[in-house]
Amino acid sequence: MRSVSGERSAGGLIIILFLICLAVDVFAADQAEQIIRITAKKFEYSPNEIRLKKGVPAVLEFTSLDRLHGFICPDLDIRTDINPGKVSTVRLVPQKAGTYDFHCDIFCGEGHEDMAGTIIVEE
């Protein structure tokens, strides 16, 4: 026969475990990946301004609406080809707040040199 005090102890433990799980869930939700979907076409990205939070993992998912494009953000050291009909993914955890320019690095036509945007990393 279990004692009453033992039942109370077990109940307390369950409550504590529940609270720990709740806290972990809240923390995980806070750190959940930011997923940004970006389309590329001659000669623009949409959106061309991407806001990320410092320290929070981010996933940039690119699709091209017309032809092969590139994405490069030299100061964040990330790049990918963007092929039509395929999702290209770039993962990053921005470590420093600031504004970072990106552009297309695969020559795509008359307006290629204007195909650019910015990533803004916020505190």
Partner: protein, 305 residues
């Protein structure tokens, strides 16, 4: 006065003071320092034949022709002329691309000097990996020697992301291997081989690999285009000089939020455009010293200024 490369490095080291001289000719410059190996060549760049925007250049049809007339008027004609890329402005239409290249070739046939070297820019070669360029102007990377100086033309535009690529880097490594480390080398290319401003695409993604191969050589200079303005940079002991363009100027690195074509200035036509003369003279060590001279599109009597 001849500015030696050593003097230039000294000048560049104290903040990039302008050292270019006004136009003149070799005969006038002769000071008893000359040897039979002295020579003079011209670099022309970023002619963008086919570009058409009157707000940027209302004389887009005449600028290159005027520069050619200026070169032809130089009292001492260059031994050769090197075009360092973006001969034509880009078009996605292969037929139009070839038409522009044919027109460009016809226009430059007016040059008195017939020894002409061509390099591609991304506007010429990025759409078709240099196919049309090679039909009109030959190989996109190659070497030639001139009066004891090894010239190396590097193609950093035909690959997909405007890189040099592993195959060409291997080729570069092979051609450098037999050369003495004191050998004078002039590298001609389109894009900067160093990270001038990557966010404006003013770099070559694998340019550092080429620089690493060149670094053991003590007498190297790099001449390039792409940024439509003079820029002088020294990487290690290797100076890299960009040239003005012949269609429109671009802003100084990071001086504006965006890299835009600078509009025509009616008060100062052809402002920011021009070409370059390079005078190579045997220095005291026997290796050449280079003097770079800036020329405007038309002879204003005072060079760039």
């Amino acid at each position: 006065m001849i500015i030696s490369r050593r003097d230039f490095l000294k000048v560049a080291g104290v903040g990039g003071a302008v050292f270019l001289m006004g136009p003149r000719n070799l005969a006038e410059a002769a000071d008893g320092h000359s040897t039979q190996d002295d020579f003079f060549f011209v670099q022309m760049s970023d002619t963008h034949w086919g570009f058409n925007d009157p707000k940027i250049n209302p004389d887009s049809q005449g600028t290159l022709k005027k520069a050619i007339a200026y070169v032809n008027s130089l009292e001492t004609q260059p031994d050769f002329i090197a075009f360092t890329g973006d001969l034509t402005h880009n078009t996605e239409d292969p037929g139009e691309r070839r038409k522009r290249m044919a027109e460009f070739r016809d226009i430059i046939s007016e040059l008195k000097v017939k020894n002409i070297k061509f390099l591609p820019g991304e506007h010429d070669a990025s759409f078709d990996k240099g196919e049309a360029f090679q039909e009109f102007f030959g190989k996109t990377h190659y070497i030639f020697d001139h009066k004891g100086v090894h010239f190396i033309a590097i193609d950093n535009v035909s690959e997909k992301t405007s890189t040099i690529g592993d195959a060409q880097l291997q080729w570069l490594s092979e051609i450098l291997k037999p050369l003495d480390k004191e050998s004078p080398i002039v590298v001609l290319t389109h894009r900067p081989l160093f990270d001038l401003l990557p966010k404006w695409d003013w770099w070559t993604q694998d340019g550092a690999k080429a620089m690493e191969l060149l670094m053991p050589f003590k007498n190297v200079i790099v001449l390039y285009g792409h940024i439509h303005q003079e820029n002088h940079h020294v990487a290690g002991h290797i100076p890299l000089y960009s040239a003005r363009g012949l269609m429109y100027p671009l802003p100084a690195p990071a001086s504006l939020p965006k890299r835009i074509q600078l509009p025509w200035d009616p008060a100062d036509p052809y402002k920011g455009m021009g070409f370059r003369g390079v005078e190579a003279r045997a220095g005291k060590t026997g290796n050449p010293e280079y003097q770079l001279t800036g020329y405007s599109v038309i002879n204003k009597g005072g060079g760039y200024r």
